[in-house]
Amino acid sequence: MARLVWNQPGERFFEAGVDRAVFYPPGDEPAVWNGITNITERAEGGEKRAFYLNGVKYLEIAQNETFAGTIEAFGRPQGLTSYDGMREIASGLSVGQQKRRPFHFSYRTLVGNDAQGVEHGYKIHLVYNALLGASEITRSTMNDSPEPVALSWDFTTTPMEIPESRPSSHIVAETTNPALVAALEDIVYGTTSTPPRFPTIAEILALTVI
């Protein structure tokens, strides 16, 4: 037994950054997503409902929640427009107001500590069945201080069944299990002999027993 101690060297953790985003269109080749500047994660639903009895709070139940968020970027993979309400109907000609389709994507966030900084570790985030909402794009005339157009998309997701857990559409693998992350990276980023692809839930669960 030992008394609790706070802020030991090497235990001052923080999270930072986002990089290595990949866009996985179902049935098509994945593409790196360059130019991502922010990914905001949030839960939709999950509101708490309180029930009262005799004027006293008797019970509080959290509603089911789904994963949603916002992606901000300077650029987008070329194929993404097909999932953002556009459809290329001939080479070079796209039309708007088409059906939005779900896709998968992944990204990496960094985990730092006081000893190693942001080199300490990272998390691989896998997002299933993301559906982009309609978003505004403002384009301004060029001036003496040109700025890139800031692209932004809100997305919602549809959860996947996960054995012995609630359905989820957001899976996170952390380098606290380096073997798991290394095996997962070979799948999601590809290797010199295998193309990148988005893993199924069952594949990820199988990796956890490595």
């Binding site: 080479s91 070079g92 000609l93 997701t157």
Partner: protein, 241 residues
């Protein structure tokens, strides 16, 4: 096979070459255009639940509107009841140009604020909200927004497109419905073919390479195509190929 690499650094910027097209087939350049915000109307994703969990998300049809800001504008827009056939503008992705075609925008002016001139004079910025009406497009959802990605198209065809949209010394600018552009792109990109557009009012337009359509003078043209067939000395038929 190769591992994914994050190297390209693309970004979009700029807007230019705004043009308004009217039902009487006239067109006006929109000078002083400073910004266009593309606004798909409504976040219409409808989730369906089963056993308390979200199972399906269905995207609903969405409308398209634009918000236009400018230092100045064609005076005809002061008529609030004016209807337009369309608006074209160009945006840039690195050194690539994209030509946007917006169908049936109806412009409503936004608030205007005029201030006394000070030692730091600023131009008044005008703004309009342009709501659109989608146009049927066989095989696809109705649309009010077409985008032409010029690097994916032969440069000669891009010149044809720009000649149609912006006009030239020998022809006026023209505005075509989406199905005409779809025909033009699917038929002309791989082959140098001829496209005939019947406007339904006794007038028609021929689009094709210079090798097929030659202006002999300001009013006289010559079409060389296997589909141009003389019926007699003064009458001929010509169709798309």
């Amino acid at each position: 096979m190769s591992r994914l690499v994050w190297s390209e650094r693309n970004f979009e910027s700029g807007v230019s070459q705004g043009v308004l097209y009217f039902p009487d087939r006239s067109a006006l350049a929109w000078n002083g255009l400073t910004a266009i915000a593309e606004t798909p109307d409504g976040d219409r994703i409808r989730p369906l639940y089963l056993d308390g969990d979200k199972r399906v998300a269905i995207s609903q049809p969405e409308e398209f509107s634009i918000k236009v800001e400018a230092f100045t504008y064609p005076e005809i827009l002061d008529n609030r009841y004016i209807s337009t056939s369309g608006m074209a503008y160009t945006t840039h992705l690195n050194d690539r140009r994209r030509i946007h075609l917006v169908y049936n925008p109806r412009f409503t002016p936004d608030e205007r604020s005029y201030s006394s001139i000070s030692d730091d004079a600023e131009s008044v910025t005008f703004a309009w909200l342009g709501t659109t009406t989608r146009v049927a497009l066989p095989g696809y959802a109705p649309t009010a927004h077409l985008v032409i990605d010029t690097p994916k198209v032969k440069s000669a065809f891009v010149q044809d497109v720009e000649t149609i949209l912006y006009g030239s010394s020998t022809r006026d600018p023209e505005w075509f419905p989406p199905n005409v552009w779809v025909s033009a792109f699917t038929e002309m990109i791989d082959n140098d073919t001829l496209l005939i557009v019947d406007h339904g009012d006794g007038q028609w337009t021929a689009i094709g390479p210079d090798s097929m359509i030659e202006m002999l003078d300001d009013d006289t043209f010559q079409i060389t195509s296997p589909t141009a067939v003389y019926l007699d000395a003064d009458t001929y038929t010509v169709s798309s190929m």
